[in-house]
C-alpha cells in the first residue's frame, strides 16, 4: 500500500502548489480566462468570458461588485445603487478555506457569512445557471479534462473504452 501514500503525498503537494496559480488572466486576450485554482485531478479550465457575457448579466456572477443592481433581495438593502468596486474577480472574496475560516476572514460577518469556497462558488454558479437556461455543460467532463492524477483518483485506469462520463 506504499504507492497509495505516495499518491496522497503527491496530491497534497499538488493542491498546495496550485493555490498559487489562481484565476490567471491570459495575457492579451481578455475573453479567455484560465481557471486553475486546484488543477490537480483536472487540467485548468479555459473559461470564455466573452461568450458568457452574451448569456448572463454581470450581476449573475459578480453580485454587486460591477455596479449593477444586485438581483438577490438579500443583498439589496446594503448594495443598492452602488458604483461597483475594484475587487470583482471571484477569488477576491471566495477563498479555498472551510466555512470557519471564511467566516472569520469576512469583516461584515453578519451578512457575508456562509460564503462558498472558490471551488464551490464556481461549480454552484456554473452548473445551476447551465441547468437553468438549459445549455452549457453540467457534468464534470463538459469543462474538465481529467489528468493522470485524476484518472488514478477516480480509478479509471483499469477501465476500457466504454463508460466514462455518461450523461
Amino acid at each position: 500500500m506504499n504507492y497509495m501514500r505516495v499518491i496522497i503525498l503527491f496530491l497534497t503537494c499538488a493542491m498546495v502548489n496550485s493555490f498559487i496559480v489562481d484565476a490567471v488572466f491570459a495575457s492579451g486576450d481578455d475573453s479567455i480566462i484560465e481557471i486553475g485554482t486546484i488543477a490537480t485531478l483536472y487540467s485548468p479550465v479555459l473559461f470564455d468570458h466573452e461568450l458568457h457575457v452574451k448569456y448572463a448579466s454581470c450581476v449573475e456572477c459578480h453580485h454587486h461588485t460591477t455596479g449593477e443592481e444586485p438581483s438577490d433581495p438579500y443583498c439589496l438593502p446594503c448594495h443598492s445603487g452602488e458604483k461597483g468596486i475594484a475587487q470583482n474577480s471571484c477569488n477576491e472574496c471566495h477563498t479555498n478555506g472551510s466555512v470557519d475560516e471564511t467566516e472569520s476572514d469576512t469583516s461584515v460577518v453578519t451578512y457575508h457569512n456562509d460564503v462558498p469556497t472558490l471551488k464551490g462558488a464556481y461549480h454552484l454558479n456554473c452548473i445551476d445557471c447551465h441547468e437553468g437556461i438549459g445549455t452549457g455543460p453540467i457534468r464534470c467532463s463538459g469543462c474538465h479534462v481529467l489528468t493522470g492524477a485524476g484518472e488514478k483518483f477516480y480509478k479509471t485506469e483499469k477501465r476500457d473504452q466504454e463508460g466514462g462520463e455518461s450523461k
Binding site: M1, M4, I7, I8, L11, Y74, S98, V99, D100, N113, D114, P116, T117, K119, G120, A121, Y122, H123, L124, I127, E131, I138, R139, C140, S141, L146, F153, Y154, K155, T156, K158, R159, G163, G164, E165, S166, K167
Partner: protein, 316 residues
C-alpha cells in the same frame, strides 16, 4: 424444625447476596447520563442536498483517504445510478460512503444523497456493543476498534441508519467497516474529512455542529422556497453530527422519517432498569416461597388431614 431454621439462614444469605449484586448493578451501567448535552466543540458536516449533483467525487476521495479496495467501476461512471433496481446502494465493507440518485416526485431534476455514518451524539452502535468496541471522541466522531470486536453484528441491528457493514468475506479478521469521520488522518488536526474537501459544490460544509445548525437555518430562511423547513439529523436518534437540508421531503429521498427523535438507548432503559430489581427481589421471593412450601409440606407430613382439606379446596 431444624431444617427450616437452616433454610431460613440460607434465605438470609441468599437475599444478602442478591442485595449485594443489586447494589453493584447500577455500577454496571456506566455514566452515560441521559442529560448529557453533547460536547460543545463537537464537529459536524452539513449536507445540502440541493447542491449535490451526484459527481461521486466524495466517494473517490473517501476511497483514497481510507485506502479502501478499488471499486468495480470507476467513480466517475454515472451509469451506476441507472442500475439501482430493487434496492439502492448502501455503505458496505468496501465503501464508507455512497451517493444515490432519487427521482423525487416533488422535484423535476433528480436529487442525490450521500450516505455515510451520521456520527450520532448518543450512538446506538456504541451503546449496544457488549465489548465496548465503539468510542465517541470530543469532536463527535464515532470510532470502531476492530481489536476487541467479536463480530456479533448487534451494532448493525442497532444503527437506525443501517450504516455499519461487516466483512463477510473474511474468515479470520472480519470486522465492521464504517466511516470514521477521517478522525485519525484529518479530524485530529482540525481538518475537514476528505469527502468535504473534495466536494466541488460545497454540498458538504464542515464546522462546529452548533454553527452548522445556525447556517442551515439561515440557508432555509434566506432562500425562500428552495428548502423544506427541516434539518434532518438535528434530533434524529438524539441528534447526529451530520446534518441534512433538502429541497424535497426527506422521505422522498430515502431518509427514514420514523427514526425516533431520542437516543436509541432510551428504548432499552426500561429493560435495563428491571435488571437490578430482578437481581434483588427474585432471590428473597423464591427462597421465601420455597420456605413456605416446605413448611406446609412438613406440617402435612405431621398431620395428613391438612393435605386432604387442601385437596378438597383445589378440587372445588
Amino acid at each position: 424444625m431444624k431444617s427450616i431454621r437452616f433454610s431460613r439462614r440460607r434465605l438470609v444469605t441468599i437475599s444478602l447476596a442478591g442485595v449485594m449484586t443489586g447494589l453493584l448493578a447500577p455500577l454496571q451501567r456506566n455514566a452515560r447520563g441521559s442529560d448529557f448535552p453533547g460536547y460543545t466543540e463537537s464537529k459536524g458536516v452539513l449536507v445540502d442536498l440541493t447542491r449535490c449533483v451526484g459527481c461521486r467525487t466524495c466517494e473517490a476521495a473517501c476511497n483514497l483517504e481510507n485506502q479502501l479496495p478499488a471499486p468495480e467501476r470507476p467513480f466517475n461512471d454515472m451509469s451506476i445510478f441507472n442500475e439501482q433496481s430493487d434496492h439502492l446502494r448502501r455503505p458496505d465493507d468496501k465503501a464508507f460512503t455512497v451517493v444515490n440518485r432519487y427521482d423525487s416526485g416533488s422535484s423535476v431534476s433528480p436529487v442525490y444523497r450521500k450516505i455515510q455514518c451520521n456520527h450520532c451524539q448518543e450512538p446506538a452502535c456504541l451503546t449496544s456493543c457488549f465489548v465496548n468496541a465503539y468510542t465517541i471522541t470530543a469532536e463527535g466522531a464515532v470510532l470502531y476498534n476492530h481489536q476487541v470486536c467479536v463480530g456479533c453484528r448487534t451494532c448493525m441491528i442497532a444503527c437506525p441508519f443501517s450504516v455499519p457493514a461487516f466483512c463477510y468475506s473474511s474468515a479470520f479478521s472480519p470486522q465492521i467497516m464504517k466511516c470514521n469521520f477521517c478522525y485519525p488522518t484529518r479530524l485530529v488536526q482540525g481538518r475537514p474529512p476528505a469527502c468535504v474537501e473534495a466536494c466541488p459544490r460545497d454540498a458538504l460544509t464542515f464546522g462546529e455542529r452548533a454553527e452548522l445548525l445556525r447556517i442551515a437555518r439561515q440557508r432555509i430562511k434566506r432562500n425562500k422556497g428552495r428548502y423544506i423547513n427541516y434539518i434532518y439529523g438535528e434530533n434524529e436518534a438524539g441528534g447526529t453530527s451530520w446534518l441534512y437540508i433538502a429541497g424535497v421531503p426527506f422521505n422522498e429521498v430515502g431518509f427514514d422519517e420514523d427514526i425516533p427523535k431520542q437516543p436509541i438507548i432510551n428504548y432499552v432503559k426500561d429493560f435495563l432498569a428491571i435488571v437490578p430489581m430482578v437481581l434483588t427481589i427474585w432471590p428473597g421471593l423464591f427462597a421465601g416461597i420455597h420456605l413456605l412450601v416446605k413448611r406446609r409440606a412438613t406440617a402435612i407430613d405431621n398431620d395428613p388431614k391438612l393435605a386432604e382439606s387442601d385437596h378438597d379446596k383445589t378440587a372445588a
